[in-house]
Symmetry: C2
Subunit: 262 residues, 2 copies
């Protein structure tokens, strides 16, 4: 007779970099796991939490499916498993594909997702508050999605006037896409629109470059860059890029009214 | 002669609820502060970190400007100050207005923003991974922004086909706006589109209701609800709502290729 398995898989977002932006739930999930599974650099990102008694399964780039299956198999066999991702595992991380695979199993283990600080939020905090008045998170990768769909989404969102956080903006092998995106954005949003390149957001090497859609050098953008495009309400205030949710810039700053913070 | 002030203001996102989704940097910022400033319920949210030696300034709803000024004044006078917000302070929180006020000062103190897990990420993790293939964060509040702008942004984003996280969807005094939004979304995205009402995401009372754009009961939506609208790639897999970034649903699941996680 099969009893109720105590196995569980936690899909964990470690935050953008070091321990600073990691949540208490993520820390606990890694420390309490019997098996920690992840792409090598993400395992390194939580090395300070690991214990020799834990089993660590380091995966390679390009083996996401195998990694998800390994984590599910181990949990189904009764282990407490943490599958770690950088940032938030639900934002271009391991959560979606792993849940889809879990749902296809005859007898899936319990699976929970532990949210984390995604790169856009870390980059936004570094810049000031560019995402304080609506924003969209888009990936420019066409590895899994046909380019016309990427472009259609970009145009719809850009026309709305909100700020953009562009993930996976450019790689060594993927260069014309960003050129094309910048040309489209200039048409829709104007060459004077502020942009920021945030490299290694939340990591030790983090660095900011500021430009506009008209002056940005695409060669400066890499896979480690999050590209921020200011929304229609974005403006420079002192050293910061800030989006103010207001009908119009106040000439004489008026008392601000209540707004729910979430 | 005036020396270099050691005063600093940290604008801190506490995450969506209890200690679980709070980052290490947020915890440290609150514990190391001499003065903790915040809207009452947000101060309560970090009460476990407070020490009797700290000064706590609890603000009321509707006094956001005064609260920002108080925090800036205290930091300018040399204190280490934490201004706390729920979620991420840069997403409809206190960061934008406070930075704008800081920039208007002749001699502003140092101000840093500490990012946090925003409600959309906590709600997404509860539901599965609805934001894994591009998404937008929109507030439906027209308290500070004219309604036509809210509606124009919604239409642009909805037409792009990506998932939506709708903040401040409805309150006791603000009801027709959500009815209007749902009618627009049915037109653009179709009545069969999956939606989820996530109440008190990340808090003890958290609860999920699932529906579609055609079946949702707007009366169930309150100021404590985050409304999630599935994107074109969103689908139900087992108990989860998941967005799969794929050209088309695989008939026979193929090996998945590498994708950078952030």
């Amino acid at each position: 007779v099969s009893g109720v398995s105590r196995g569980v898989l936690l899909i964990v977002g470690l935050g953008p970099g070091g321990p600073d932006h990691r949540t208490a739930a993520a820390v606990r999930a890694v420390m309490e796991a019997e098996v920690v599974v992840g792409y090598g650099p993400y395992v390194d990102q939580c090395a300070d939490l690991l214990d020799p008694a834990q089993e660590v399964v380091r995966g390679a780039m390009g083996e996401e499916g195998a990694r998800a299956d390994e984590a599910l198999d181990r949990a189904a066999a009764g282990a407490v498993v943490a599958l770690v991702s950088s940032g938030d595992a639900g934002v271009y991380g391991m959560a979606a594909r792993t849940l889809a695979r879990a749902a296809s199993l005859a007898d899936p283990p319990r699976v929970d997702v532990v949210p984390g600080v995604t790169a856009a939020l870390a980059a936004g905090a570094l810049l000031g508050a560019p995402f304080a008045d609506d924003f969209a998170v888009l990936s420019l990768s066409d590895l899994h999605l046909e380019w016309p769909v990427v472009e259609r989404r970009l145009l719809g969102v850009a026309s709305s006037g909100i700020a953009l956080a562009l993930y996976n903006p450019r790689s060594k092998a993927r260069t014309w896409q960003l050129d094309r995106v910048l040309a489209l954005l200039v048409q829709v949003r104007g060459a004077a629109t502020a942009v920021a390149l945030v490299h290694d957001a939340g990591r030790e090497a983090e660095a900011i470059e500021r430009a506009t859609l008209g002056t940005i050098d695409p060669e400066r953008v890499t896979m480690r860059t999050l590209l921020v495009v200011a929304g229609e309400s974005g403006r420079d205030v002192g050293p910061w890029l800030v989006a103010l949710r207001e009908a119009a810039p106040p000439v004489d700053p008026a008392p601000l009214r209540a707004e729910a913070s979430t």
